[in-house]
């Protein structure tokens, strides 16, 4: 084990402050970085030169049946059991209330025997309606992009490769609509795997699952089409994902994780901004990445008119800005970041992700700091004077809104009876506000501030009188040690856009090609451009930031 006492952190520039970083609009502009969980996982797979085997392939000519893929990571064997079923088109919906899907998956701990496979083949298609075991690590399901899957298989059957433009436009053969981990529906708790090499990082088991699902979708299409896909086309076929409100509350209910993710990313940026100078090859690499980003933006097309306009604005801004990029002179990356201060949030966040990219030696170790193995290790506040001071220091932004005004409390988060999933309602138009979920951190902190009063008394005395302030007290108490743990916006305001929370979280997963369908759900693409199973040992397994279509 490395001795932490021997570690000297690299120099770093000042961190961008939480007041700047933790605003929803900026979080909703984030791009994946080399610290994103998929990137970290693929680096690990490549470092171990992992090979993927396919011990079971029981699939009929139409591609219905089951398969098992298996690999060894960090000394442990994991297997994906994939089940493909014939789904009537009218049952195909990405919504969480769906009850049937084109395919279902379990990431299994070890190599499943015949009984395990039979059990999973029977239960995985039922998803939430079934119960699972501690050997089942992740549960997922995916629907086909019927249009592209049909085109690819028909093309292969006809003896030709599919149309590149269609592959570029859609980008995946299937999209997952849920990837469940950490004990859901009886699967293994995260504690079972959190100390295993390769799966220590946040969502690592889930990312391994989606990478293997992508591999399965390629082989399923090749099986039905009766011919292999060209490797460059295959590499551009990622795995889609459809994500709604279900994942938004996670960022509020896991402040330590949110802090650790954001702090790692900001520390990475601060480290590269402290670089005194860059040599010519590194400067050339940065210019090449800027060009790749331009190509990526050019290939990023979405049906939503508002979002398409936003992408087009970024394309234009990026083309102008990258023409000014100059990595000569002292502290060039800090200078480039400073030059972007007047640019859009989209451009600033794209630039931040790009500047980090060439400096793996400097930043990749930060990925080890993105978990939360202990829970909140906070020191108690001595009295209500310290509590008041903490609110004024860290939650000043929460004290401004008038939460009785309709615009500042127009929405409420709740859990629906159907499937018990998070939803967002309009407070003055829909029933259920009395059952509101406690995501209204800003309003709670202001209410706490109002009840503290003057002087100093023990915090326990305040809580004895006002136990309802327990959550707000805990959040203020955490703010000093976890300054990036709080979204600094009013999450019940009429203007709150949950899509910003989704994009933040999904960018940490490594998602690209955000394709919002409303302000509450989005499609994305994962693993696009990622190495195929056979590419892990080729040496360029880590060069797929912002995928672009390769001829």
């Amino acid at each position: 084990m490395k001795d932490i006492a021997d570690f000297t952190p690299p120099p770093q520039a000042p961190l961008r402050p939480p007041a700047q970083v933790m605003r929803l609009a900026r979080m909703g502009s984030m791009f994946p970085t080399r610290l994103s969980f998929l990137r970290s996982l693929i680096r690990r797979l490549a470092a171990e030169e992992v090979t993927v085997s396919r011990p079971v392939w029981e699939m009929d000519a139409d591609g219905f049946g089951h398969a098992v893929y298996s690999l060894v990571l960090g000394g442990h064997r994991y297997s994906l059991v994939a089940v493909s079923t014939d789904l009537p088109p009218e049952q195909r919906t990405d919504r969480v209330i769906a009850t049937a899907w084109d395919s279902a998956y379990v990431l299994f701990d070890g190599m499943p025997d015949a009984d395990d496979i039979a059990r999973i083949v029977a239960s995985a298609p039922l998803q939430e309606a079934a119960r699972f075991t501690e050997r089942d690590l992740v549960l997922s399901r995916a629907n086909k992009s019927v249009r592209l899957f049909a085109h690819v298989t028909e093309s292969l059957r006809a003896g030709c490769q599919p149309n590149e433009q269609m592959i570029r436009d859609v980008g995946y053969l299937m999209r997952t609509t849920a990837v469940y981990g950490n004990g859901k529906f009886g699967i293994a708790d995260r504690a079972v795997i959190e100390s295993r090499p390769g799966l220590e990082g946040p969502f690592a088991a889930e990312m391994l699952t989606v990478w293997l699902i992508r591999h399965f979708t390629h082989e399923l299409a090749e099986h039905v089409g009766g011919a292999p896909l060209d490797a460059p086309l295959k590499r551009h076929l990622g795995i889609g994902n459809s994500t709604g409100l279900g994942m938004a509350p996670f960022l509020v209910s896991h402040p330590v994780l949110l802090n650790n993710w954001m702090l790692a990313r900001e520390t990475a940026l601060a480290r590269v901004c402290a670089i005194e100078s860059v040599d010519a090859p590194t400067a050339a690499r940065l210019h090449a990445l800027a060009e790749r980003a331009a190509q990526h933006l050019g290939e990023w097309q979405v049906p939503d008119a508002d979002h398409q306009r936003r992408i087009e604005a970024l394309r234009g801004d990026w083309d102008i800005f990258r023409a000014t990029l100059d990595f000569g002179g002292p502290t060039p990356l800090a200078r480039v970041m400073a030059a972007a201060e007047d640019q859009s949030l989209d451009l600033q966040e794209l630039l931040a992700a790009m500047l980090i990219e060439p400096f793996g030696d400097l930043v990749d170790g930060l990925a080890e700091c993105m978990g939360d193995p202990f829970g909140p290790m906070t020191l108690p506040l001595r009295d209500t004077a310290a509590l008041r001071s903490g609110i004024e220091q860290y939650f000043d932004w929460a004290l401004t809104p008038d939460y009785d005004a309709a615009d500042h409390c127009g929405q409420f988060w709740y859990v629906s009876e159907a499937k018990q999933e998070p939803r967002l309602g309009l407070r003055f138009e829909e029933p259920g506000a009395e059952l509101e979920s406690p995501l209204d951190i800003a309003r709670r902190v202001k209410a706490l501030y109002r009840d503290i009063g003057d002087g100093a008394q023990p915090v326990s005395a305040l809580l004895e009188q006002h136990p309802e302030h327990g959550l707000a007290v805990a959040r203020v108490q955490m703010a000093d040690r976890y300054p990036y743990g709080e979204i600094r916006d009013n999450l019940i305001a009429t203007s709150c856009l949950p899509i910003d929370m989704l994009r933040c979280k999904l960018s940490f997963f490594g998602a690209s090609k955000f394709d919002p369908k409303s302000d509450r759900w989005t499609r994305i693409t994962l693993c696009q451009g990622a190495p195929l199973a056979g590419d892990l040992a080729t040496g360029d397994a880590d060069d797929w930031w912002l995928p672009v279509f390769a001829q």
């Binding site: 088109p89 009218e90 195909r92 990405d94 919504r95 969480v96 209330i97 119960r131 501690e134 629907n143 992009s145 019927v146 950490n182 004990g183 859901k184 529906f185 009886g186 699967i187 293994a188 708790d189 995260r190 504690a191 100390s195 459809s242 709604g244 409100l245 279900g246 193995p373 202990f374 829970g375 909140p376 290790m377 020191l379 108690p380 001595r382 009295d383 709740y414 859990v415 629906s416 009876e417 018990q420 939803r423 967002l424 309602g425 829909e430 059952l435 406690p438 023990p458 915090v459 326990s460 809580l463 136990p467 327990g470 959550l471 949950p498 369908k517 409303s518 302000d519 509450r520 759900w521």
Partner: protein, 166 residues
Amino acid sequence: MILSGNELVALATKAARGAGAPPQQAAAFGRAALCHFQAGRAPQHLRAALDALPTGPILEIPLALTRLMEAAEGDVAEGVLRADAPSDFIQSYLEAQPFAITATASQDGFVLTCALSTPAPRVPSVRVTLPGGLAARMTALAAQLLVPDTAASRAGGAGAGLTDND
């Protein structure tokens, strides 16, 4: 009813909220409930604590812990934890804390030394067999937080369209 640890924490947290506990205290109860089962302690203490809401141990034990912590010197808090609750239920709360605690039972309560910057030892994950009566009670309480569907919430609450073929 066999649950994963995370399922038990989630169910117990929601049950406490459904019974009237504020969110932070409900979450503390959820974590303590898992420790309670992991240690093989009597499930009736959980039932009694839920039945006592909106007062009782689910509010009192976290408050007693806060009293002790706020007297910390640096990152060490020492003192006697007094709360009107069964001692093994209090023990479950102590085991649910993220920091290391040394506890000794005495006539006045638990004599504690809390190392607030030292993580508590990891506890192996175990699955929990929840007795049928307690499972039903927790599920019923948790259900009190759920908002019934309406046409509007189905159409727009989660944001998605109704079909998604492409």
